[in-house]
């Protein structure tokens, strides 16, 4: 593979980072929720909600930042629905997730046609770009790698914050307890229900940001069903990451690079069936959940409803 040319390499790194971000944001939310014992297959639907609401908000107000705010607001009912069904009503978490994804796909597709059907190729104001002082001025690599939407840097800051909160704070301890030993949390005066609701809403927010990254940061438009499996990949990354922040981030970056290669390889004249590259993350996750790459230890009470 010819990565000797610096511009090519810079382009590849830049686009890998960009493609990894929606998954990274979603998977960080999902990791917190799964640690608390709730599996949200609905990450896909939450991302789609964010992508749609972000795009519509940005278009209506002319400000991508307000679009982001709308994305966060719009995902709330979706996340609360998931939380209510899976926590309060103790419904099957997998079934509710799939139901929400179908509902959101239908809802956003329909709303999009109603709102924008006649002018579907419209360009939407996107998020501003930013480069860390100094790094942006590096020749070749500066513009291609570091000059990114500010949400990308915010996402990296979120990762660090989440890792710290999960490891060192009482909130992190309560989240871990809700998924590992809910009865202990309950006996010690915490509320499993409250922690889990909070975790699911957090997943919704992070997923919405991930979705908005797609429509506002990368492509500057909304297309029907544009998440196209990114939410499922975010879940896969959490599994592959063995429910740990560092490994999950690594998985997302890897998936991003695999996606970037699909566009890069043909440009470099290398013929590898793209299907193989797209398939790779799923195959790796399959190996991971089979325990063929290290032991996977999910939170013990993952998908178990808590009954007092």
């Amino acid at each position: 593979m010819d990565f000797t040319s610096a511009p090519m390499l810079a382009l590849f790194i830049g686009s890998s980072l960009r493609l990894a971000m929606p998954m990274l944001l979603g998977s960080m939310g999902e990791l917190v929720s799964e640690r608390a014992g709730v599996l949200n297959l609905s990450v896909e639907g939450m991302m789609l909600t964010g992508a749609f609401a972000g795009a519509m908000g940005s278009l209506a107000t002319g400000s991508a930042t307000l679009g982001l705010v709308l994305a966060l607001a719009a995902v709330l009912p979706v996340a609360l629905l998931q939380a209510f069904l899976s926590i309060t009503l103790r419904a099957n978490q997998i079934v509710t997730g799939i139901g929400i994804n179908i509902l959101v796909l239908g809802g956003t597709t329909m709303a999009y046609r109603e709102l924008l059907g006649h002018r579907s190729r419209v360009q939407i104001p996107g998020l501003d770009k930013w480069a860390p002082p100094g790094l942006g001025d590096i020749p070749v690599f500066g513009p291609a790698v570091f000059d990114q939407t500010w949400l990308l840097y915010a996402a990296l800051a979120f990762v660090i914050a989440i890792a710290l909160v999960m490891r060192y704070t009482a909130v992190g301890l309560a989240i871990h307890a809700a998924g590992a030993e809910p009865r202990a949390l309950d006996k010690s005066g915490g509320s499993v229900t409250r922690v889990r609701y909070g975790a699911v809403v957090f997943t919704g927010m992070m997923s919405a940001l991930g979705g908005a990254f797609l429509s506002l940061g990368d492509i500057h438009t909304f297309t029907e069903g544009m998440t196209n499996g990114a939410g499922y990949l975010a879940l896969v990354a959490v599994i592959f990451g063995n429910w740990k922040v560092g490994r999950t981030v690594f998985a997302c970056l890897f998936f991003g690079a695999a996606t970037a290669l699909q566009f890069q390889l043909p440009a470099m004249g290398i013929q590898i069936p793209t299907a193989i590259l797209i398939m790779l993350p799923y195959v790796m996750a399959l190996l991971a959940v089979s325990g063929l790459v290290g032991r996977q230890t999910p939170p013990p009470y993952l998908t178990h409803a808590y009954v007092r």
């Binding site: 139901g99 509902l103 796909l105 239908g106 597709t109 069936p273 398939m279 799923y282 195959v283 399959l286």
Partner: protein, 358 residues
């Protein structure tokens, strides 16, 4: 509590498996109609267009029924595995591998040259086997490593869908020979001999013979679930694996076998779709059928009659939805909304269903 009240409550509980799905479906459809009104299309026009597309002509009726066949097969596989409390969400991938196997057999496996009914039977069997093997991967992972079958069947679905994509992209595999740059990434059309024969000679009614196979299989599943040792074993494995093991039930082989059958039904659905309706393998061949079939299985709440009813419902819903979009300008996404609402209502209602009556 007075006796009549108690009698009514007992009746409601006894028939909960009927009125609850019915209620969920009616709720979903009511919301759908409200949305139609909300986007400013007259309800009369929308319903007329829907009826036209779903059952308005013999052709439309047959097309809806064909759709229902594929969905019903996936649904049957779902309730079979569900009896052992295994959730098969891999219908999409099982359909895809079935489609690949049937295409390969029809085009390059020499099936077309066989005698009698073999040209269309052999690809169907190949699809059945391929789907079954694909399903048993999840069973094997469950038995060997305790891998949650929901996650493995979901991942396997994605893998299968992309294998299908790869197959129709590559000339070395199933893509038709490239004559010019406009050659579409899809397979050749399968030979006439490998098409599943239509029930009637009238080509305006394209209902294919798979309906007989599907009905026979529905009967077999009903008997297996309710009248055979295997059915009892599945239930035991699902309810209490520890007790089942103590009772000497071979858990591992039961799981493997039932996942094979669940996958095989999906594979056969793929063969039906290819050899009965589409005749050409395309990248988005299985699109949505697997998840729809899963919903059919969920709605059925474990009964074969339920599978038949909900498969027909969704078959007609999808066909009607497409015409509603073309004729009345109502986005067919409304059908997705209705489906999503039905699933969520049912999932949420399980809370009241599973409370034990005192």
């Amino acid at each position: 509590m007075n006796p009549t009240h108690m009698a009514i409550e007992r009746q409601l509980r006894a028939h909960v498996g009927v009125w609850l799905p019915l209620g969920a479906v009616l709720f979903g459809i009511a919301c759908g109609l409200a949305l139609v009104a909300g986007v400013g299309v007259s309800l009369h026009d929308a319903i007329a267009a829907f009826a036209e597309g779903a059952w308005g002509s013999a052709y439309a009726f047959a097309a809806s029924a064909n759709r229902a066949l594929a969905l019903g097969l996936v649904g049957l596989g779902f309730i079979l595995a569900d009896r052992a409390k295994l959730t098969n969400v891999g219908g999409e991938g099982q359909i895809a591998v079935g489609g690949i196997a049937a295409t390969a057999m029809s085009l390059y496996g020499g099936a077309a040259q066989l005698a009698g009914p073999l040209p269309f039977v052999v690809p169907m069997l190949a699809a059945l086997l391929a789907g079954g093997l694909w399903g048993s991967i999840a069973g094997l992972l469950k038995v060997k490593f305790g891998t949650n079958e929901v996650i493995s069947t979901l991942l396997l679905s994605f893998v299968a869908v992309w294998i299908l994509y790869g197959c129709v992209q590559s000339e070395a595999l199933l893509r038709q020979p490239m004559t010019d740059s406009a050659t579409l990434p899809e397979s050749l059309e399968i030979p006439d001999a490998t098409h599943i024969p239509l029930l009637s000679d009238d080509s305006a009614v394209p209902l294919h013979g798979g309906v007989l196979v599907a009905l026979a299989l529905a009967l077999v599943v009903a008997i297996v679930l309710n009248k055979t040792v295997f059915g009892v074993r599945l239930r035991a494995v699902g309810l209490n694996p520890v007790a089942a093991r103590r009772a000497g039930i071979p858990i591992a082989s039961s799981i493997l076998l039932v996942m094979f059958f669940a996958g095989a039904f999906g594979g056969l659905a793929g063969a039906f779709m290819l050899q009965g309706e589409q005749f050409v393998l395309k990248a988005r061949f299985s699109s949505g059928y697997g998840f729809d079939g899963l919903v059919v299985g969920l709605l059925a709440r474990g009964s074969v009659k339920g599978v038949i009813a909900s498969a027909l419902l969704f078959g007609f819903l999808r066909s009607g939805g497409i015409t509603m979009e073309m004729v009345a300008g109502v986005p067919s996404a409304i059908v997705l909304i209705i489906q999503g609402l039905i699933i969520l209502t049912l999932a949420g209602a399980a809370f009241w269903l599973e409370r034990q009556p005192r």
